[in-house]
Symmetry: C2
Subunit: 402 residues, 2 copies
Amino acid sequence: MKGNNMIIGQSGGPTAAINATLRGVIEGALKSEKVDKVYGAINGMEGVLKENFTLLSDTFEQEENRRLLSQTPSAYLGSCRFKLPDSPEDGVYVKIFDIFKKYGIAYFIYIGGNDSMDTVYKLSEYAKAHGHDINIVGVPKTIDNDLAVTDHCPGYGSAAKYIAATVREIARDSAVYDLKSVTIIEIMGRNAGWLTAAAVMARSGADNAPHLIYLPERAFCVERFLTDIKNVPAGNVVVAVSEGIRDKDGAYICESAASGVRDAFGHKMLSGTGKVLEGIVRDRLSCKVRSIEINTPQRCAAHFASETDLNEAVMIGRGGAEAAAGGKTGVMMYFAREGEYNISIGTKCISEIANVEKSVPGEYISENGNDITGEFVNYASPLILGEPALIIKDGLPVHIAL
Amino acid sequence: MKGNNMIIGQSGGPTAAINATLRGVIEGALKSEKVDKVYGAINGMEGVLKENFTLLSDTFEQEENRRLLSQTPSAYLGSCRFKLPDSPEDGVYVKIFDIFKKYGIAYFIYIGGNDSMDTVYKLSEYAKAHGHDINIVGVPKTIDNDLAVTDHCPGYGSAAKYIAATVREIARDSAVYDLKSVTIIEIMGRNAGWLTAAAVMARSGADNAPHLIYLPERAFCVERFLTDIKNVPAGNVVVAVSEGIRDKDGAYICESAASGVRDAFGHKMLSGTGKVLEGIVRDRLSCKVRSIEINTPQRCAAHFASETDLNEAVMIGRGGAEAAAGGKTGVMMYFAREGEYNISIGTKCISEIANVEKSVPGEYISENGNDITGEFVNYASPLILGEPALIIKDGLPVHIAL
């Protein structure tokens, strides 16, 4: 008997929108006449292998719970860092498809980033090769915005909005004293500078901060950086920098400085990129300097998510469920942009996407590599529009947990 | 001729509510028949001494600008770290009151924390002793909430709300993988633990995080801390800790570890309390661990301010202008709480307030010093209620700047 149940999993680093996508998948599945039970795999593929499932259809029949899901950051189902073996001969594939059969699974939806699309690719190839009639669909999410094919990734808009708002606030904070100062804001992104680029939107009529922006897409030179700072006319210089900036030899700035240093207790000192640059500016420019790492809040600050992002995340999740129910497999859902900002969703063969990393293109970075262009602002501005109406209790946004 | 003009200054560390207080003072002054021109001193007392003034009455006739002022974090007028000399014989006093006379000043309102109240105290004592007919009134602000007499300080509620919401989000983020982990969240507060205590409000039905909370009011013991972590039943332990925790000998934890250590470039490595504890946990408990410094956003995240805090900040600012116009001098405005949560404002002689620091009282800290009690929650919960309707442009809150 062919099953007609669905399993949904979440994987990779959490975002403020990945649960909105889960909501969309659940809603698409609940609406479809082809889907019966909707299981959630706890901790992604790990949950599949342990048969650790939760029945989502029950909890999320209620609209209130679906709304709470949308505004809860991080992965409701938990996540994993699980890589399927390259060889389809590995026993784990047999095990997975036996479990799928046992639970009557006809549809498997995996919400995640690059690594998760690798899983979708391998499972769908295996299913095809072994005649398993299971539709396997990937739905993208990543704050890094580095997936190929799609115009942008759910989760990026909320992170970008939070970063821009926070950089603007830090810029106001840094301008408060009448003295020369440098404030260095470290933003996530090991290889792609999409998140750091978003800092440019913090600029307003009142304030041109951040004055300097450095992405990992360009080699970072300490001497040029110091010259750049000296050339900023403002007294309070604000710098946005990707954690992943590297020198011309490809060495991470954060690693070059701290390697092998231990504190008084003998613990290895790990220093972030911002802290390293802070030390350099203090030594070389002798002015007030501080560094601020925006840190995890940039991927989980659901209290200031982008409504556009969350709506699109629900939409693409729903689309994923519909695509699977409609017979698609081995595909990832993606966004296409037309005209000013009309977003449609489509499916793309997963082999075009898995393991491809999309960097910030050259035309979004200024020629001298220390600023972001207006083309980027045109690209990113629509993604951060709108603030969702939050369910608040005792002054704080309410989350839903397993 | 006796003047009837007013100077307003802002001083000390910025907050998300200090401009709402400025709005209140301006509104009180604009309404009063006794006040003519309203000057803002740029960078507090520094601006007074340099005669660096802006005419506030013009800009803030418009309600739109007053609304923008309320939602702009940090000090609109700029701030300073200026301490008046102890000796009233110092020439600076003569200079200040000459300037007051030159600009026809009858009222001086200073918005700030502990140091600023010291300024109010000294100026009002000097005025009294030398027969200057100028009413000098202090209006409190500080995220640290450590001013005596007042039930709480404007700015604290917004910081507490942002901290609680952010800790709740980080807790969700930290629970995403199925493995033992420790997340250490470092919160501001060198001497008083009010901000760190606010993290307790992050707890919800779904999640008991943060599981451990340490304030500077209690001596910190590394061994007890490690035992506390082991005793937490949850797999993903979340710890909130004040930057200012000290050991039983009074040495800051953050200083003990990093003293004298230099990185590969020869820069002194400065490590925060969270980073130090992260290193200790990694070495001793061999589990996944990370530390997150909430950093400046806790004092400038106006995008998620407390409406109660902002409304009260306007109210106490207005009260300050009215008190000065009504003849009060040498006083600080304060909040009194009655019943469940009825807030009234009053004036208190500045000598009772200046240079007194209010710590978190014993009944708000659990007996074993690693948690916060329900009494604190009763105290702090009303302060974080409500979210102001923000003026947003292109997806981001708009600020107003000089």
